[in-house]
């Protein structure tokens, strides 16, 4: 289906999220949509898929002007969107997820749904049990399910918003193959991402957005520097690989074992030095989160010991870990890290040690202004955290960390952030390392792990590898380990 977006405008209060965007996407094409966080990619796609209405402008499908007022409306017109986080119903069965949103009849026709699903599975080489519960599927399989659901509902335009976040390399290959097959069959695929390599690998053409405007349309062969320049308006260079590993032991795990209802981690022994960065690689859900939380004192190990500076912390309450200078920064920013409804000022006051009984407003205001400037947060002291963009929420979380810290445990510190923000955040983190803080972090991005870590632990189904020197390994080797080879 031919998609034409003509002079689309969208305001959110004073923010001009889409500023006169005109884009024509012919059928059978994989169109990349590239831009840093907050460039307006998601807004534009949400307008096309009926989540938002444009304030000005026109949408034409196959040359016919249409008015799309809701996501249901969009799918009736043949436009389906795959959201960044799967919008499905985890406690329900696959087949029932497929039937939701399907029109017709009072009684759902399961047999027909399963037949259709099996056709689609055969077409793309998927292998999902129609009677499985969705919460037993991996994120990649849930994406496959969502793609099948949209196709079954008659989608001829498929929008994917950052679909590679949180899926493995294998699943990514499969997803790309599926998208290529769909395009060959005449579907229009719109691939939204801020990851250059993926866009370069997959897309037939790329449109770049910056600050709400369409700043360029590029066709292969792509030159990475050109794309970066379009995205940021300037050339961005990653900073040097500086390392601050002091070889001075700080944090020690002895035969640590962790258990929860899904997996068991056995006998991890590790010594972390001051200033060292340890990267945890592995598929989502292989035990990295449990490992970080055990190091933070949030979950109790079933065996083994935890020492900081020679002091035994095993079994002590979480507050003792905090007071020892160990801090955990969760990946789910608004669910676990920040408090929606509270302002930036209130967050900084809460994060600092309590002084007296009454909050000193002047001091709090001064502190907040300082932190906002230091961490380049785009927001006011009175802004509530949920009104900030994802990148600024991450900056706020880092700005809340106390000074000094011994051990910083970070879960996906740069997930969903663009290159510029990622580099900036690592600059701040390395500054901590220079002051003697050790960092343990998880990431789905192997390049990031290789680039910033001194040593790497690979997780596979609760098994933990021996520490690997970052200089003595490669993305390929890590990829093999993550897939379970060599354990």
């Amino acid at each position: 289906m031919n998609v034409e977006l003509i002079n689309i405008h969208k305001w959110f209060g004073p923010v001009h999220a889409n500023d006169g965007i005109t884009l024509h996407i012919p059928s059978g094409v994989i169109q990349g949509l590239l831009g840093e966080n907050g460039a307006g990619k998601s807004t534009l796609m949400k307008i096309l898929s009926g989540f938002y209405q444009a304030d000005e402008g026109e949408i034409r499908l196959d040359g016919k002007p249409v008015k799309i007022e809701s996501p249901a409306d969009a799918i009736r017109h043949g436009v389906g969107m795959l959201h960044q986080d799967p919008l499905d119903f985890p406690p329900m069965r696959v087949v029932d997820n497929l039937l939701i949103g399907h029109r017709g009849g009072l009684f759902p026709n399961r047999a027909e749904a399963i037949r259709a699903m099996q056709d689609l599975q055969a077409r793309f080489g998927f292998n999902i049990d129609p009677y499985a519960y969705v919460d037993t599927l991996t994120v990649g399989e849930r994406q496959q399910l969502e793609i099948m659901r949209l196709l079954w509902l008659g989608a001829r335009v498929l929008i994917l918003d950052e679909p590679t976040t949180g899926i493995s390399a294998n699943q990514k290959e499969k997803l790309f193959a599926t998208l290529r097959a769909l395009a060959e069959q005449g579907m229009t695929v719109i691939f939204v991402s801020h990851k250059l390599e993926e866009v370069e690998e997959l897309c037939h053409r790329v449109a770049v957005l910056r600050q709400g405007r369409l700043v360029g349309e590029v066709e292969p062969p792509y030159r990475t520097e050109d794309l970066v320049k379009l995205m940021f308006g300037k050339v961005v260079v990653p900073e040097d690989k500086t390392h601050f590993d002091s070889k001075e032991p700080l944090f020690r795990l002895e035969n640590l074992s962790i258990e929860d209802y899904r997996l068991q981690i056995r006998d991890v022994t590790l010594t972390v030095h001051r200033g060292e960065v340890i990267g945890l690689a592995g598929m989502e859900g292989s035990g990295q989160r449990q490992f970080l939380q055990a190091c933070a004192g949030i979950i109790r190990p079933v065996a083994g010991d935890i020492y900081l500076d020679g002091k035994r912390l095993t079994g002590r309450p979480y507050r003792d870990f905090l007071e020892a200078g160990i801090t955990y920064v969760p990946a789910a920013r608004l669910e676990e890290g920040l408090i929606p409804g509270l302002t930036l000022t209130e967050h900084f006051v809460l994060a600092e040690p309590q002084e007296g009984f009454v909050v000193n407003r002047q001091k709090a205001a001064a502190l907040t202004t300082q932190r906002i400037a230091d961490f380049s947060i785009k927001g006011m002291p009175t802004s509530t955290v949920e009104s900030l963009s994802g990148g600024n929420q991450q900056r706020a979380l880092l700005a809340m960390l106390r000074q000094p810290l011994n051990l910083l445990l970070l879960e996906h510190p740069t997930r969903g952030l663009d290159i510029e923000s990622t580099i900036w955040i690592w600059g701040k983190l390395k500054e901590r390392c220079r002051q003697g803080t050790a960092i343990i972090f998880t990431s789905a991005d192997l390049e990031e792990i290789l680039h910033y870590s001194d040593r790497i632990l690979v997780f596979f189904g609760g098994k933990v590898s021996q520490p690997i020197e970052a200089t003595k390994t490669s993305v390929e080797e890590l990829g093999q380990l993550i897939g379970g080879k060599g354990f």
Binding site: E335, G341, L342, G356
Partner: protein, 347 residues
């Protein structure tokens, strides 16, 4: 970005809500074949028509304000303490108990009254702690725990009035034997309101205002209420803060019960809480759970309650009409707030 005009839009929507509530109440009265203007005039005259009437409004204002103050604490902590009615009742029972034990002792009446207040506070906290225990350690939602404890409190009152504490001879719905006048809170001459009740109410809301607006305690409580997980990760002892919220609310509810016994009824009666707990929840919703407007809005609600007392006599209308207006007002304000947000989001 707050635009200068948004304050005026807010105000316009709130005025619209009041008009809507009045229109709805008027409609109810027209259906009941009564003249709305006549009824509103009677309510105004009945509440502020004389010094006596206004002092009666203040009598209702103090316990309502205390209940609201307590509820602001639990709302801030993200808890729906619907058990506040039972906590008021238990406050009244404990105050009555203390007075019954001490009334024939040699202690000075002033001291007995102070002990009465403290016992009331204790009773409210005790009842709240049951709900807190069920919520924190048993995972029982505080709405169900509170609802259950409200029934138990009512049953306990009836049992006491007709059982152990019944009047000499035979127990009756009019309550227990009144205390001697020395144990009544002293009032302004010729009026029913006591300066001491006013002091308790005003100091109460002032304490809550300062606590919630300016202190670490208030800020941390708010954090616990908005996101318990993140608050825990930040190092706030969430369980302790939830306990503190329940106990503080129980304390204020208990004081409301003590005022009802010491300053108003001078005995235990079956419906000693007078519905001030539930009414307090309405006040708290109307002021969007912020303490700033608690005192004036509670005063307005108390005036509606007192003003409608004479409706049955003058107009043969039921006095629950004030409840219709209060309920309609809260719902209209919440509705208009939703409408305002929808419109602003569209723009």
């Amino acid at each position: 970005m707050v635009k200068a005009s948004s304050r005026w839009t807010n105000l316009a929507f709130q005025l619209l809500a009041i008009v809507l509530a009045l229109a709805f109440t008027s409609l109810v009265m027209i259906l009941a074949k009564a003249d709305p203007l006549e009824a509103y005039r009677n309510i105004v005259v009945g509440s502020v028509g004389s010094v006596n009437k206004f002092s009666d409004v203040l009598v209702a204002w103090v316990p309502l304000l205390l209940a609201t103050s307590g509820l602001l604490v639990t709302y801030t902590a993200g808890l729906w303490n619907i058990g506040v009615e039972g906590q008021i009742t238990l406050g009244a029972i404990f105050t009555t108990w203390a007075l019954r034990v001490l009334q024939d002792s040699t202690l000075s009446p002033g001291l007995i009254i102070v002990i009465g207040f403290l016992s009331g506070a204790l009773g409210g906290m005790l009842w709240a702690s049951v709900v807190a225990f069920l919520k924190i350690y048993g995972g029982v939602n505080e709405i169900f725990g509170g609802l259950g404890m409200n029934f138990v409190a009512t049953a306990l009152t009836i049992w006491l009035i007709f059982g152990p504490w019944k009047r000499p001879g035979i127990g009756s719905m009019s309550g227990t034997e009144p205390f001697k006048e020395a144990l009544w809170l002293p009032t302004f001459t010729g009026l029913r309101i006591s300066p001491w009740s006013l002091v308790v109410g005003i100091v109460g809301i002032a304490v809550i205002y300062l606590l919630l607006q300016g202190t670490y305690f208030g800020l941390k409580l708010k954090a616990v209420g908005r996101n318990r997980r993140a608050a825990f990760l930040l190092g706030i002892p969430t369980t302790q803060y939830m306990w503190a919220a329940f106990l503080l609310c129980g304390l204020f509810a208990g004081l409301a019960g003590a005022v009802q016994v010491l300053g108003v009824y001078h005995r235990l009666i079956p419906s000693i809480s007078s519905g001030y707990g539930f009414l307090g929840m309405l006040v708290a919703m109307l002021i969007n759970y912020q303490p700033t407007w608690a005192a004036p809005v509670a005063l307005f609600f108390a005036a509606l309650n007192i003003g409608s007392i004479q409706l049955p006599i003058v107009m043969k209308l039921d006095s629950t009409l004030s409840g219709v207006l209060q309920g309609a007002l809260v719902l209209a304000v919440l509705l208009m707030d939703g409408v305002r947000q929808r419109i602003l989001r569209r723009r």
